[in-house]
Structures are given as structure tokens and as C-alpha cells.
Amino acid sequence: MERWTIEDVAQNPERRQLAAELLWQLADDDLLMGFRDQEWLGLAPHIEEDVAFGSIGQEEIGHAALYFGILERLGFGTADDLASLRSVSERRNSVLIEQPNGPGHYLESPRYEWAWTIVRHYLHDVWEMALLTALTGSVFEPLGDAAEKILREKRYHLAHQELWMRTMAGHDADSRVRLEDAWRRAQDWAGDLADLGPYSSALESAGLCPGVDSVVRHYHERVAEMARVLGLPEMRMQTRENGRRGEHTEALQQALDTLSEVYRLDPTANW
């Protein structure tokens, strides 16, 4: 099978552009997911869970750093510039991922919602599991290698969210109502998550992402199976703004302002 190295892609403008379309989505999803997870740090409902969830958020940022690192090697600029300085319209993360954990600012009086946090993270993890499994067969070698490594942690993240979903579904009426409510709200935002955007078929035919249709199908099947097992309503995912096309909500601008606040003081300085 043909395998592309960094040089093979960096020196071919068409491949380079196409690989980047996919990498922006992966990197931006994980950066924003990690950012939302980090907002919980020190504040999670149970101290042992605080530590456990802390690793998950950290690993999301670590995965984003791996993807931005590939983009850096493809000549798009430094990973830190890419993470901190790109504008809202350049971002390709799903709008589901950029939504806040709940009302309130992380420094003042956040009213973060655990059920929403878990359901949203669960959907992210199912999507990434499906996508990364396909990407292990990508023609672009560094991406395939990264997918392989990241998948191992993804399985663990997904198992963690699934455990919480089952726990909330089965405990009592209160936790179940909260889970159902979060599940319903997630469908309003989840539409662009399992969408590879305008370059979807080009990504497939180039071999960058093999089997796009079956990735999307696996994702929907796994979510439907969870709904069936837990007795949740079928999730009818809506697309409002489509993050894969650079359409975003107010929440993303606020997140970017925060995550780049220090770096923007002087992007050329050594921090």
C-alpha cells in the first residue's frame, strides 16, 4: 500500500491542503474538548473523579498537540500559533464541542452540568473512536501512527463516559431526568460532529480517510445502541451552525479569548 510521508504531503499542494482540512477538525475538536474538560479541574463533584477526569482533559490537549505538530511539520506555522492565534472562522471543531459546560464563568460562579458534560464527551469519544479506527489505515503515515496511539486512550475515555451514562441512567429518577435532559439538548448541537465537511469525498478518494460512510454509520449505530440499552429516545441530531465549515457560536470566541490570553501578550516571546 502506498504511504505518504511528511515530505510527500508537504511538497504536494493538493495533498497538503486536503490533509490539513482533516487535521484542523481533529486538532480543534480535541483542543476545545480539553479546554472544556479543564474548566472542571478542581471542581468536579467527587474528588476521585476530579483526578480521573483531569487525565482525560489533559490527554485531549495532548492529542491536539500531536495533530498541531503534524500541521507544523507540513509548514502551516508553529503548533502554538495554530492553537492560539487562528480566528473563529478558521476553526473547524464541531459546535457541540465548543458549547460551555453550563452557565457561568469558570472563575466566578459556574453552574456546570455533569450530565451534559458526560453526554457531550461521550458523543465526542464515539465519533473519534469511529474516525480514528478508520484513520489507522490512512495513506498519510504520520496521521495513521498518531491515530493508533490516540485510539488506545480513546477507548479508555469512552469506557469512562459510558460507565457514567449507565450509572446516571440506572440510579434514580433525578439522575435519569438529568441524563435524558442532557441527551435531548445534545441532539440540537450534534449534527456537525459526524460530518467531515465539504472535503469529505475528496478525503476518501485520496485515501486520507478510508471509508467515510462506514465511519459515520458506525458512529450512529453505536449511539443508537446506547440509546436502546439505556432506554433513551432516539437521538435526532440537528445542525445549526456547522463548525466544519467555520460557522460557530459566541461560545467559541469566549473560549479562544481565554485560551490564548497569555500567548497573545507576545506570541514571539518564549513562554
Binding site: 490516540i150 488506545r152 486512550e153 477507548r155 479508555y156 469506557a159
Partner: protein
């Protein structure tokens, strides 16, 4: 044989000194925790010393599954160890001999008086 004798398996954990964690040693067949304790002492500590001994019936132990174990093969995490900060040692040594001025420029002469204890 129509009827085999059956026992419980007890896993044995021992602590070599009070600051150390309990470490898994091996296991014994026994019919009660007391019996397991008595047997473990003589089977595994005829030479080594211990300050504390635990026996746990094996079916009381919950083990991580194969796929979950895979999740612990983590992506590199040097950022959470001191490995990435080894360069600091040389920097401190350098600035002890070449201290900075308040504006960050190198000072004209001399070292900072006194020691920098590690």
C-alpha cells in the same frame, strides 16, 4: 474420584516496612482468613521479614479487563515528569556564576554570594 476437596484461594500481600506499600507475594489454599494468614506466614516469610500481612479471598479481588489495560499504554507524558526539566540544573549553575542584573542583562562581575542548596 467422585468428590474433590475444595478450598478458597487467598492472595497474600505483605509490607516490608511501615513506609512501604503492601506488595503482592503469592497465594495459598485455605478454608478461612485465619487459616490463610497462618499458612502464609510460614510459606512465604521463613526468611523475609514483614511488618504487616493481608490475605484477600481471590473472588473479592476485581481485576482490570484486558481492553481497559490497553488504555493504560499512554501517549508520551514527559511533560508530567521532571525529565523535561533537566536543563534547569545547568541554568542555575550558570546564573550562580553569571548572575543577571535587575534589567536581565548579565552582571559585570562576581558570583552570587553563598550557596544554592539542592
Amino acid at each position: 474420584m467422585d468428590e474433590r476437596l475444595d478450598f478458597d484461594v487467598y492472595e497474600v500481600f505483605a509490607q516490608s516496612d511501615s513506609l512501604s506499600p503492601h506488595v503482592h507475594v503469592f497465594n495459598v489454599l485455605a478454608s478461612s482468613p485465619d487459616m490463610a494468614m497462618a499458612l502464609a506466614e510460614e510459606n512465604f516469610f521463613r526468611r523475609a521479614e514483614f511488618v504487616s500481612l493481608w490475605v484477600v479471598r481471590r473472588d473479592q479481588i476485581h481485576q482490570i479487563g484486558f481492553h481497559d489495560r490497553e488504555g493504560f499504554q499512554k501517549t508520551p507524558k514527559a511533560y508530567r515528569t521532571t525529565d523535561d526539566y533537566k536543563y534547569l540544573r545547568d541554568k542555575w549553575r550558570y546564573y550562580r556564576d553569571h548572575p543577571m542584573n535587575p534589567d536581565g542583562s548579565p552582571a559585570a562581575g562576581g558570583t552570587v554570594d553563598g550557596t544554592m542548596d539542592d
